[in-house]
Amino acid sequence: MRLKFTVNGRQAEADDVWEGESLLYVLRERLGLPGSKNACEQGECGSCTVRLDGVAACACLVAAGQVQDREVDTVEGLAGEDELDAVQRAFVDAGAVQCGFCTPGLLVAADDLLERCPSPSDSEIRESLAGNLCRCTGYEKIMDAVRLAADRRAEEARS
């Protein structure tokens, strides 16, 4: 099939796509967007998290055929032209990145959370990020990063 959908606000097209391949494969192997990571391919780890029509989803379990004419936002769409997004900066500054494999999925999940809920409680952060596993188990720093990102976004909104 010829797959057409919107990625990070731009129209994307790929030819000879098998409807059954995953959205994750399309992003990484056909569109050159390797930010979304491929770890478990079973919906368990969240490292492939993207937004599909605005809501967080595991790209590894979405079939390419299901994406036709829809909107996908990946971690590559977070940063501006030449500066990182507040969530990305917070992850760096809080030391929440170790091997970095879970980071892209967490960034998308955290961005999604902060959009729905700009000042989340700790239990809201934990519950929202429950679908993202970090094999380096740096969860405390990840919590710090999300709190920091929430504070900075609130500041940016005020100024």
Binding site: G20, S22, G46, L52, A56, L61, G65, Q68, E127, A130
Partner: protein, 330 residues
């Protein structure tokens, strides 16, 4: 994964006809269970008919005060629906207790009901499993059974049904509407799933090609006072060891009416009618709750690794009933 064809369904009749005439065709909802099984080799359909954008994705109030949930409504949208949160809190809680945000955003109401067991042997194609390959034997019988059934199992299969949502729907007397090769029909959710008996490969009473189109919740005013509690090995994002969905109608200190279903105990969501009968008309006391739980669990038979489930089910039911009956009138 084996190659397969994919079609996006545009109308119900064609979708039902297409899947019904091809024994190797399957419907595709959010794909969070089926696509996973295709990768694991547990399922190898030739044709997927995508119904995730076909059936209604709306939640509407019915003239009799009930609520109709379209089969394509996403788990996260259903949990957030104000009418569900206010009138059927047990359902909203059960949905939010399942999977993760990224999965609930994809999972559909129809697909959630028909998700298959998480028995590790069922998911591992290198081991014998009567559900996956009838007649090969059940690896769980001599295997690891922490997550397996204590009620209603057979010598052929001791798996449990994994859905949290289905447990709440069972307690609520919800009804599933389907469209099949022989026309439409309505099935109470409590009768949708089967016990394994000697056909463990059949999870439900649905025929091949039968499409779930909607789920109706009855008006049931007592559901406003309802809750879902799930006990699991970690605080979030794990399947139930035991879960309880319950709703009560209480007058003074007397239980006028009650609805209870257990998850994690059987091959289907377990409607606890014996416990309900013991509770109707009885005083709302700790002693009555325990007697009722014992009545339901008298037939429970543990496996090597899951004896703990019986006291856990009793304690969970008791604590859910305690909280619901002590709650201020709603």
């Amino acid at each position: 994964m084996k190659p397969f064809d994919y079609q996006r369904a545009t109308d119900t009749d064609t979708a039902v006809a297409t899947v019904s005439r091809n024994p190797n065709a399957r419907y595709l909802g959010g794909g969070t269970n089926l696509v996973d099984h295709m990768k694991l080799g547990v399922s190898s359909p030739e044709l997927l008919v995508d119904v995730s954008r076909l059936s209604s994705d709306t939640v509407e109030t019915l003239p009799d005060g009930g609520v109709r949930v379209g089969a394509a409504v996403r788990n996260s949208d259903l949990a957030a629906e104000p009418i569900i949160r206010q009138r059927y809190p047990v359902l909203a809680h059960a949905l939010l207790a399942g999977a993760s945000g990224q999965l609930r955003n994809l999972a559909t109401t129809g697909g959630n009901l028909l998700q298959r067991t998480r028995c590790v042997y069922f998911q591992d194609v290198t081991t014998p499993c009567n559900k996956r390959e009838p007649g090969t034997g059940c690896s769980a019988l001599d295997g690891y059974t922490r997550y397996h059934a204590v009620l209603g199992s057979s010598e052929h299969c001791v798996a449990t049904h994994p859905s949290d949502m289905a447990v709440a729907l069972t307690a609520l007397d919800a009804v599933v509407h389907t469209q099949g090769p022989s026309g439409p029909r309505s099935i109470p959710v409590a009768d949708l799933h089967r016990l394994p008996g000697d056909e463990p490969d059949r999870d439900t009473v649905l025929e091949h090609g039968e499409l779930i189109t909607a789920v109706d919740l009855p008006a049931l005013p007592m559901a406003a006072r309802s809750n879902y509690r799930k006990v699991r090995d970690r605080a979030s994002y794990a399947f139930a060891l035991v879960s309880v969905a319950a709703a009560v109608d209480i007058a003074g200190d007397t239980i006028r009416d009650v609805r209870i279903a257990f998850g994690g105990l059987a091959h289907k969501p377990w409607r606890a009618t014996l416990a309900e009968n013991a509770l109707r008309g009885a005083p709302a006391t700790e002693a009555t709750f325990r007697t009722a739980a014992d009545a339901e669990l008298a037939e429970a038979r543990p496996l090597s690794d899951n004896e703990f489930k019986i006291p856990m089910a009793r304690n969970t039911l008791t604590s859910v009933l305690r909280d619901l009956t002590q709650q201020e009138g709603s």
